[in-house]
Structures are given as structure tokens and as C-alpha cells.
Subunit: 440 residues, 4 copies
């Protein structure tokens, strides 16, 4: 087939798909044919791929007529068994024929990775054209079954056991604090660090999600210190705190099939087993939505956002350092405010108060916490423990959260109640310090 | 919970199941709770287990009202997207809530094996009470996804690499020619033998299905010779024929989720790769239904079953050896007919003819071959190649097929056509010798 | 070469050995040639092998002339460096050229196993003809280096991880309490049992020595009970005592290269780590030399062997049960004395006293304990803890030690002192009960 | 013990060494004590280590008196057996007691690596003080036995299977063409490359020696092209030539225990097996001694070194490019002669001629080829095939061999004869082109 899949090729393609679905020559032959189709797909260009998927959307979707008949049959069914049989019939009618073909793609050497990547493509397409949503959803259903968390393997990743292939994937997939090279990576796998990932047995070198942990003393309050390659390695047996400082989803195609919750809790269990001295399990997390929210609020000029005394302090600081009148808006948009001591000190009060407020009170859709990382940890039953000023002074850290980070605390006895309170009534667990900070 | 699960315990059980389904305290807690339920189930007696499952049947099945509403919504939906959303809604309504709980049982240490065994129990219960069919079917759906053939591992089993645990399972699961002990087993894993099995990655020591192969010269015609522990080991590089002499499904709970077809063909590929001298791939198979059919036909006195000349020969042979009048019916029911030369010779003609007829012409439900082993290999695209007289003189062999066995031939170029002809129009591929044998 | 290696073949053989030693064509070619020689050796019959080895003995031994010259050179050497160089020269002259060829046999696929087995053959030959001693000793030197205990791997053997090949070797090599089949073997690998072995990295499926341990409560006093396949499996976490009930050397060719001492102590360490409840580490050991010694003593009519009161009791018991006069000699030679209650009771006193005496007081060569198992454990620093009456009522147990067994106790704080006392002055560590038993 | 090991500590040390050698408390205790000594050694500073080793040199060496007595006993011995016993006695007397202690260091967790590194230290010390030679030699004897080539494992190293620990060691140990980082390393492990190493089973992550191979078409003539990370990956199945472009010994402490010869030939065998299209096995090797030799010859003003016509050409080229008179000496010492076309062209003639002459005719000690890499490959039986101009234009390449490299050809049928001719009479195998090049 030609890369852009012209019409004649589409015709042949449709015929081959049909052969797969009818299992001509038997199921073994059908799988071989499906694998050939999969290889053909990989050789297509963007247009070609979209046309390939369109065939699946249009010609191999649910047959509305069959659904209607099955609905009629169900209405007519009398008695428990007849009703059950009719339901089964209807269930079948509601499953698109293409689901079978998608399953057959497993016959490719890396079939399951192929399907995970295909879903990532379908998700992108769906955002442009809702016609792709049903097939995207079909595929999500399959992946949800195959990636059931208890069918996966939780493995520790170490410098001694991980292969080159896997290690370079960690570098590629790290989504929170970019890994700057092999030395940085090796440092994150040192004796006082831990890295764990979930793997699917048929995708051996592909982490699905991974977490990086530092074994330290006391709640960590600065990510640059944590990642300092020159800092001496600590004795992990002497640590009292495990800090989860990075969690990265590695496969876009598995979005919405969540393992993060399991990953954190199983790693907590495993670490608690290995290191008897650990008393505290917490994160050092980014607050990715703070500046976006703040900028919008400042733009809208929300009344009462800044308190009078804060305003005074800011003005004074601005005057001292630059001889100009300063508002939060102007000051925070100076690129290097955090490296000027007076400015920094003046901003600390209002910014920490506003950030605590943002985390505790600002809501997104469905009453959930507006900050996505907050929502994730709150759903897991964690508590907002401590807001850390100047905790991430990298360019990204300043940009997304004015350099602040927060510790979410995972406290064994509280997790279930916190989860219930948050998912039930939206109640957010937080330390009293955090709460009073929000009040100013 | 008490072993027989009295009413009060059922009440508590129902409450715990609800907690799992609502994921109280979060999904991690729900899984832990499901695992506890699974362990409780394993501790129940037969009555207790049945009551446990009944709760799932009655309280956690499809909600008919929800289905009806979803059906109404679907009828009311207008436009492609609305229709699709309504279909998705209906699909959800048709999935019983217990499916979620069944999935959560994966959290048990051997969760997937637990579910496979649970299905075996549900299949037995369904045969007695159709109310268990829907849940049996729910579980079959899950297992079908998880045991997709391309998510499994095909492994060779050898005396050098298989563990004690796995080896004793081969002995336990062999279903065609019982393994008489460790020496017999070791002989079946000798240098001129091969054994392959499919495994699920989360059920490492449990074969799902396994096949035993002998590397020989020419089509094998006697299974006792094949299994003779004293026969010298042959050089496998000199063999021209691979004989598949035993295929055993090892997990009752995976009935209807077929791997046999794949197993044979993938093993053919692998052997062809390893041994360049192999020209022929065939089975030496039992004919399990022959005597049952024959006895019934003889009882019904089907006219023309025995030909006149055969009748004469049988009579003569009976006379010579026992001084009595002999019919096929009386002669074949003498326990040791096959050890008396004259009787044996007289029976050979009619029995081989009738057996070829049975294989080629007798039909079961849906027009398929009446013999189940024949149906399996014909569906795979194999050809009936040669009927072998006195090929299995064990008690079981005499009892089920009057000692006959048949070679099914897997010929690469023919397989797809044979499959299509058989599954399409019921046409059976057979050698001309077999066909003429059936005619007498 | 022909199996019995006639003279002409010997000539060719000698030439090929020379080619190996001169490394003609380079060391890689020489090794290939040595491997061919090794394969030729394996194809020889007994006569042929002896002639093969004789060539090595006669033509490739130490060159006396070269030794004499080197000795002269050493006497003439003046100054430290010259002396050292001369010593090095002499050391070379004292190493037989065949040592190089023996080393080259490592090039065989199972070269190191070949050499271990070759040593077993050479040990047998040496016993008949001392001319083989030097080469046997050369080989022992090589094996001593290669089988240094810290180059070996200590592995646990379990039913879940050991292969068929390894398991059948355990059955073949068990030297103390014969393994009666696969069920017996499986029972010895049950949850409340442990089996450990040393392995050489290039002899992966060949245990060098292995020990079997039972995790029980209190000192075990009966081996039949320990090995009872029907006895329920105990919870190993609840055990307070580890009983080492069998230690078998698996390779005759490694005689004199001892690992037993290391094996016991490393297994003690490992078990102490795994099972915190273990307080006692002891053996349940045979007393293989007791009856041989006793029979000889009785034959020699050693005065005072039997005490007067014992004599009376024996006589009485003999009378009661058989109406005949009984001495220890006659009674103990009745095959089934241990199944007759009165006889058994009468024999208990004198036999336990004599056995304790034998263990504590009878000496072998060099002042060591006469009983070889006693010598082994005493050298390891263990203490004679308790003599057990009717502890092994198998035919072998009755025959070698009148059914008695003994517990040797390994007590961490005592081991070094016990070892020093025994190896220094022959002093035997024993419990007071054992000592008083010996006194009668 | 204090880092610099003052006199009192030396006294204690001596006592502890004695305890090890006498195996006080048994061999298990002795090994534990030896391991403690090994850990103490690692904690010492340079002075301390030297003093530690001096104790071994002075107090635990060969006892000259014992040697003299054994010599006397040997002279007095009459008869074959007595003589043999006396030889054995003498052999024992010639083995220094410290050999036992060195062996016991194996009890350290990485004992064998400890000993390899210790030998590297002893080699350095021996060069300063010959008193360390005997102990260095003792250790070499032990390592020679333990690192017998057939007790090692040959493993392929791939990006998919090698761990971070191993990969960074390749970077550290590469001795011929420095690996510039992880991308360079990954490129050397690409599909058209191979890397093999020998490993000792008890030093799992430590390569002993490794070779890097490129699968190409035709003899490679430029190492920069070979290592170009941007060059497209070739299909290895289409390659006709395997180029061994780097061989690095990774353990200084194993100097003189040679595996290089085996490594090359076993890798040739393995590649020939895997890639049926390979016809040629050759190296692309540095000529490390050329410039040193040349500079010396130029300094000595060896008459006839430069031919008259060459002199003229050089002069002319120098004039054209710099307006100055040029000799080989002045021209070659201009840092960038190879980037000036005319100069380069003028130098090509004399430099290639002189280099061929150097390789073929210049001799080192014992008549061997003066160039060490040449000596290595000639000893292995390879042939000088082709000299390559501007084959390594890195700074190092220009510096050591004026940018030239040579292909040594490993031709199966020739290897043994080449080896014999070279090691016997110093005859060098070379292509006729190389030979005539040397003549000019």
C-alpha cells in the first residue's frame, strides 16, 4: 500500500479487514493477516493512517439495524432466561466488529505496544473529529482489561539491573523534573534513592508509570537540593522519611487507565518493609496550575485578591529596588524576582497565602480541586501538609508555581477517610498550618 | 465466615461486596477487600460457595430497569453522536456490577488462577441451574480478554529446565495417554521428543495447554511403540516426521477459549525452523467416539451396517476359535479379541471400514464431524491421512476405538483451503485410501 | 582410536599429547586438540583408559634430571634475588608437564565435570597401583584451586525452582537416608524442610554437596518420623529447632576437598536470618561405625565389656522370650530384636552405654574419634548432645548402629573453642548426659 | 587499624595473619578473619597498604631452611615412591604460607575482584622494589588457575541486555578509541555492531576483556567513519566483512594472563555461525609504536632513512605551502600537516613506506615484532593485510602513528601455520602489497 493510501488501496484494505474479521482460513491465518495489516499501518504517512482508521470507523462500527432488532427482541422477551438471552444478544450487537480486528493486532511482535500507541493517535484524532471517539473508546475498553493493575508487575529499577534500553526510556519519559543526562539519572538511582515502575509482561522494556523516591530525614522542602548530584549519598537505613518527588505516566495511550494510586501505595508498603526506620511517606509535588489561575485572577482584577497590608509591602519593596510603583502583577512578571532578596521577601507573604487559597478553595469541574496534581493526591487520600517557599527555582518551577511546591502526606490511618471525604463531599484534608496560611 | 455461610454471614458478605463495588476508601482499599473476600470463598465448603455465588447472581446482576431506561434513551436519541452516547450508556447498563468484583479478585496472590478455577465451578453449577449461566458468561468474557493467545507465552518444556512443580502438573493434566510415572515423563522429554505449552505470564507454573511430539521417521502407527521407555533414543536431526501424539487442555476453567489450533501451528513453525529435515507434520490421534457410535448402531440394528461377506468371515472366525456363532456385536465385546489372532484378522476388515465410515460420514450437531477429535483437527485444516489398525492396544484404546488411531496430516499449502471447505460446507479432507476404506 | 587402545594408537596418542603441550598452532588450537583427546578418552573401554593414563604417568611426569639441575642451581644461588629466581625455577621443574594438558581438558563442553570424574577414576587406580598417585595428586591440586569454597555458589533447592535433571541427581546422590522416589523427595522439599547445596558455576546441574534440614520443635529423635510422608507439614515460622538430618557428598572426584564444614555453617547463618524463632541448630546423625566396632570387641571377648548386672538382665530377657540363654552377641544378631519389647528393653541399657563409650572413648588414627561422622562434626566444633534409642529402625539403621542416632549440637559461642580443643588435644565436647551414659 | 598502619598495628596485624594461616577455630572462622583483614586493607592509605604487604613479604614467604631440608631429603630419597614423596614435600616447602591467606581473601563479598586489584598494586610496587616480586608471582599463580579461559563466560553485550553498571564500565575501560559518551556507546552496540566480553562467574559486572566489531562490506580503512554516530545503520545480514576495531583489556591485575587470542577466535566462530554472508575477518588496528620509533630514528639521523626522491618531494611541498625548506622531521611535527593537501600528499609516500618497514623489519626483544599490537596479532596467526593512510585522524591517531592504521587478516586456513612460523622463526605473514610498500 502507498503511504498516503489512495482510494484503490482503501478498497483492498477494506477487503483484507473483512478477511480478518471472517477469520478466513482459520483464526491462525486471520491473525497473520492482521499482523500484516498492522505492519502496513506503520508504513503509512499521517494522511494514510487517518484514512486507514476511517475505514474502521465507517465500515466496521456498530450495526444500528442489528441493535434495533436486538432491542425489539429484548422487549419481546418473556421470562428470566429469554430476557437474559436477549440481553446477551443485545450486548453482542453493541460491540463493533472492529473490536475483533483490534484484538488481532496483538499478533504483531510488539502488538500490545502498537495498540497503546494507536490509542494515543486516536485520542488526538478524536479531539479534532468526534467520529473517532467510538473506536477510541473500543480500544480503551480492550486496554483497560489487559492493563488491569493486578496483571502488571511492579519492579524496582536500579543502575545494577536496568538495561540501556530501559534507562534511556526513563530519561525520555520523565515528565516532572527533566533528567539532564546519564549522571543525573545515575544519581537518581543511588543507594539513598528508589525508583519503581509498573510493567506489562508483554511490554518488557516499557515502563507504564514510574515514581522516584528519596530517602531522607524530615520533609524535603527543595527539589534542587534533592537532585544535587554533588550532595553526598545518605545511609538509607538512617532515613525517617520517604519523599516521592516525581511520578511520570510513560504511555500517552494509557490515559484514563490509572495506576498512579496503586503505584504510590504499593511502593509505600514495599519501602516500609525494607526500611524499618521510615516514619513518614510524603511527596514533594509541583503545583502546576497556580500561576495560570493567579494570572487570570489578576487580569480579571478580582476584588480583595490582595490585602491592603500586602499591597503596602509590595509597593515599598518595588520602590526600594527599582524606584517604581509595584503591584503583584508587575513584580511577579519580572523574570528574576526570586533572586532579589527584598522583592522575594515582600512577595513571600501574598504568594504563599494565595497559593494556599488556590489549593484549598479553587474548584474545577465537578467540585474537584482545581489543581490537577492536588486532585490526584487528594483522591488517593493524601493530606496537604506543607507549602514550601522557593522549593523549585528552576525556570519551569518559577513559571508554573512561582517556585513553590507542596508536600502531600500519605498517613496510613487517614487515607481511606480522606478519600471518602474528598470523593464524597469534596472536603480537602489539610494541615492546620496550610489552612491558616490560606486565611492570611 | 462459617464454612456453610449461614444467613447472617450472607448479610455481612453482601455488605462487603457492596463496599468493593463502591470502592469505598479508594480502589486500593477495594482491591484489598476483594482479596479478603476471595480468601473467605476459598475457606467455604460446597454449600457455602454456592450461597456466596448466589449473592453475586441475585444482587449484583444486570439491573433490568436501568437497561429499559437506556433502551428508551437510545430510541429517543437523534443524531450520530447522541446515538453513540446512548449506545455506550446501554452497553454499560448491560454489564453486571459483579464484573467489577470479579476483576478485583485479581488482587489475590494467584488471582487469575482463582478466577480460572472459579469458572470451572460456575460451569458445573450452570449445568444444574441455568441461573448461574449469566455470571459464568461474565467470567468467560473477562478470561477471554486476559487469555488472548498473543498475550500468552509458548514455551518448550524440557527435563533440564522444567521445575518439579511444573513436571508434576504435566503428569496430573495429561489427558490422552496417561503418564505412568517419572520415568515415563522423562522419556517423553528425551532428545527425540518435544513438549510445548502455553503459559499466562501471571500463572507461571500452570500450563494452559500442552502438546507432546515425537520426532521419527515415517508416519507413526502405534502409540505403545512411541511411548516405549526402552526404545532407543533417535537422533532428532535425522527425523523426517513430527508426530503430535497428545494434546491436553490443562485448565477446565478455560473451556471454550481455544488455543489448540494456535499451539499446533506455532509448534510446527518452531520445529520446522529447528529441524531442517522434517517433511511431514501429523498427529497420531485417538478416535474417542467410535465405539459409542458403533454400539448404538449395532443396538439399533441398522440395516446394511455389516456386509454379507463380512458376516460370513466373522462367523467362521468365531466358530474356529470358540465353537460358537459370532456377530460383530458379540465378538467385539469379548474383552481380549485383539489378542486372538484369527478373531483379530476377521474383525480387521469390518472394523476399519466402519471406523472410516464413522469418521467421514457421521455427523454431529450443525453438520460437523461427529467425532470431537476429528472436528478439532478438521477445523484446523488438517486432512484424515491414514487409519491405523491395532495402534493403541491399551484398555482405554480398545474400549474407545477398538484399538484404532488415525493420523491427521497438517500440510502447509492445504490448511487454509481445508479449513474453509470444512467450516463452510462441511466438506472433509481425506486421503483417497481413507475414502475408499470407508466404501469397503 | 580403538576402545582398548592398542600400541600403535598409543603412539599416535603420545604424539597428540605432545602437540597439546607445545601448543602447536597456538593455544586455541591446542585446546581444541585437547578437547578431542578428552572425547577420545570417553570413548575408550577400561583397558584403553588405563593405558591412556599410563602414557600421562610415564611420559609427561616430572623430569628428574631437570629437578636435579634446578636443585644444583638453587644451591649455587647467592643473594636474595638469585635465590628467589632459583626457587621459582625449581618450582617449575617440580610441576609435571601433564598438568598443562589436564588444564586444557577444560575446553570440553563439560570439561570440569570430566576432570572431577577423571579424578575419581584415578583415585581407584591409585589404590591398586601407586604409580598413579602423582597424577592423581596433580589433578587434586587443580581441583582444589578451582573448587575453592568461596568461588562456589550456595543455593537453596526447592520443588518450585529445581529442574528435573537436578532433582533426579538428589535421588541418585543421597548417601545417608535413601530417597525412595519422587513423593519422598517432594516431602523433603516441603515448606517445613530445607535443602541447600554448593554448586560450581561451570557445573550448573551438579550439586557438589547437599544438606537436608527439617524445621521442627525440640531435638528430633527419630528419622523415620522426620521422613514420614504422611506427617502434616508444620509452620516453619513456629519452629525452634533446625535439624540437619542428611549431608551427602555428591562427587567422588572431589574427595579430600572439603565443603561440609562451610555448608553447615553458612546454612545455619541463612536459616537464622530467615527464621527468627530458631534457637537450636543440631543434627540427627548416624553412627556408622558402632556395630563394626562392637562386633569386633565382642569377637575379641574384651573383658569388662558387659557389666554383670547387664548380663543378668539380658539372660532373663532371652529366657522369657525364647527359652534360651542370651548374651549380647547372640541377642543383637537376632534380626528383629528391636520389634520384641522385652528384648528391646533389656538391650537398651548395655547398647546405649556401649555406644556412648564408643563415641567418646574409642580412637582412630592420629587420636581422632573412631567414628567418622563424629570426627567430622567434632572437627567442625559441634558437641555430642543426645544419644537417641530406636531412632533409625530401618534395616540399614539397625545394621550399622543398632538403631541408635545422635544429635550433634552447633552452638554459636562454643564452636571455635570446641574445634580448637578437639583438633589441638583430641578433647571431645559432649553433654553431661552423654558422658555419664558412657560410664554406665 | 589506623590508615598508615603504625608499628603497633603491624604487630597486631601479624598476629591476625598467623591466626588465619593456622585456621584457628576452624577454616570457617579463619575465612571470616581473612575477610576482616581484607576490609582493613581497603581502609588503609598508600603507606599503610605498603606496610601491610611488607608483612606478607617478610614474615610469610618461603622458609629457606625448610626448602634446604626438603632438598636434602630429596637427594637422600631412593626408589620411585620415596623420590615422589620427597618431591611433593619439596613442592610444599616452595609454596609460601601467604598463598593460603591470599586464597582466603576470596571470602570477601567481591573477593576475587579484590585479588585482581591487589595484583595490580603489587605489579606497581614490584617495579619499584623487587622484594615484592615473589608475592606478586604467588598471586599471579592463583589468578592464572582461577581465570583459566574455559572457566570464563563469553557474553555478547547489547544495549538491550547490559545494565547501567556494565555499560559505564565499557566507557571507563575502552582503551583504543575512547567512547565519547552514551550516544557513542549506543552507536557501538547498534544492529550492525557487536561487542563481546569475557566474564568470570564471580565478577558478574566486570568485563575482563572486550572486543568491538563492525559488520561492514569490504575491509574498513577509516576508524572515524566506523564510529560516525550519524552514519546509517547497515543490515548486518548483508555484510561480508567483520572488522575488529577495538580490543581492550579491562583488568590491569590480569596482565600476562592472556585471553585476547581466545576472544578473537571464539567471536569469529560465533559471528560465522550467525551471519552466513561473512567472508572476511580482520582488524582495523592502531600502530602504537610507529612515531616513537620514527622520531628516534630521525633524531639519530639514520643514513638512508629517507630516499633521495622523497627528500626532493618533501622539500618542494614545504616550499609551496610555507616558503621554507622542509624535512620529514620538521614537516611531521607541524600539528596540522594532515589537513594541508599538498603536504599530506608529499608525506604519504615516505610515511607509508617507513611504516611498512617498521612493522615488517623492526624487532623488539627476543626477535619479536617491535610494535606490540603487531606482535599480538602475529602471535595469534594473523597476517598484515593492508596499511591505511589517513585512517585515524584523531589527535591520538596522528600522534602515535601519523594517522595510519593497519588491517590484520584472520584467515582460517592460515592461522596455525602463521603462528608457528612467527613463534618459531620470527617470520611475519604479510600481503605482497605490504611487503613491496616496505621496499619503497
Amino acid at each position: 500500500m502507498r503511504p498516503h493510501l489512495p482510494d484503490e488501496d482503501v478498497e483492498r484494505l477494506r477487503e483484507q479487514m473483512r478477511a480478518c474479521l471472517e477469520a478466513r482460513g482459520g483464526e491462525v491465518s486471520a491473525r497473520a493477516r492482521a499482523a500484516a495489516l498492522g505492519r502496513a499501518y506503520l508504513a503509512l504517512d499521517e494522511t494514510g493512517r487517518q484514512r486507514f482508521l476511517q475505514v474502521l470507523v465507517e465500515d466496521f462500527g456498530v450495526d444500528d439495524g442489528a441493535v434495533d432488532s436486538a432491542v425489539e427482541a429484548l422487549r419481546a422477551a418473556e421470562g428470566r432466561e429469554a430476557r437474559y438471552a436477549a440481553q446477551a444478544q443485545l450486548r453482542n450487537a453493541l460491540e463493533a466488529p472492529r473490536v475483533r480486528l483490534l484484538t488481532q493486532f496483538n499478533a504483531l511482535p510488539d502488538g500490545i505496544k502498537f495498540l497503546v500507541d494507536l490509542r494515543a493517535e486516536l485520542m488526538a484524532l478524536s479531539r479534532q473529529d468526534p467520529a473517532f471517539r467510538p473506536i477510541e473508546n473500543d480500544l480503551k475498553g480492550l486496554l483497560t482489561a489487559w492493563f488491569d493493575v493486578d496483571l502488571l508487575e511492579l519492579k524496582q529499577i536500579t543502575w545494577d539491573s536496568a538495561t540501556g534500553v530501559l534507562l534511556e526510556k526513563l530519561i525520555a519519559y520523565e515528565a516532572v523534573h527533566a533528567i539532564r543526562g546519564w549522571d543525573d539519572l545515575k544519581n537518581r538511582l543511588a543507594m539513598d534513592r528508589r525508583c519503581f515502575a509498573y510493567f506489562h509482561p508483554r511490554m518488557a522494556d516499557e515502563p507504564l508509570i514510574f515514581v522516584e523516591v528519596a530517602l531522607v530525614n524530615g520533609l524535603a522542602d527543595n527539589v534542587q537540593k534533592l537532585l544535587d548530584e554533588k550532595a553526598p549519598v545518605q545511609d538509607p537505613q538512617a532515613a525517617d522519611t520517604a519523599i516521592f518527588y516525581s511520578i511520570s505516566n510513560a504511555q500517552r495511550g494509557l490515559a484514563g487507565i490509572s495506576f498512579g494510586n496503586f503505584l504510590i501505595k504499593r511502593v509505600v508498603d514495599q519501602l516500609a518493609q525494607e526500611f524499618k526506620g521510615l516514619k513518614t511517606f510524603a511527596t514533594l509535588s509541583p503545583i502546576p496550575g497556580f500561576r495560570t489561575w493567579l494570572d487570570q485572577a489578576l487580569a480579571e482584577g478580582a476584588p480583595g485578591l490582595i490585602q491592603a497590608n500586602e499591597r503596602k509591602v509590595l509597593n515599598a519593596a518595588a520602590g526600594k529596588s527599582h524606584g517604581a510603583k509595584g503591584t503583584l502583577k508587575t513584580l511577579i512578571n519580572r523574570g528574576n524576582w526570586h533572586s532579589e532578596e527584598q522583592l522575594r521577601d515582600a512577595l513571600k507573604g501574598p504568594l504563599t497565602r494565595l497559593c494556599a487559597h488556590y489549593l484549598l478553595n479553587e474548584k474545577g469541574r465537578g467540585g474537584r480541586a482545581r489543581d490537577p496534581v492536588a486532585h490526584f493526591h487528594l483522591t488517593n487520600g493524601a493530606r496537604m501538609e506543607r507549602l514550601n517557599w522557593l522549593a523549585d527555582t528552576s525556570a519551569a518551577g518559577i513559571e508554573r508555581s512561582a517556585g513553590m511546591m507542596i508536600n502531600y502526606l500519605y498517613k496510613l490511618g487517614e487515607i481511606d477517610n480522606n478519600h471518602e471525604a474528598y470523593t464524597g463531599s469534596g472536603e480537602i484534608a489539610a494541615s492546620s498550618t496550610t489552612k491558616s496560611l490560606a486565611k492570611g
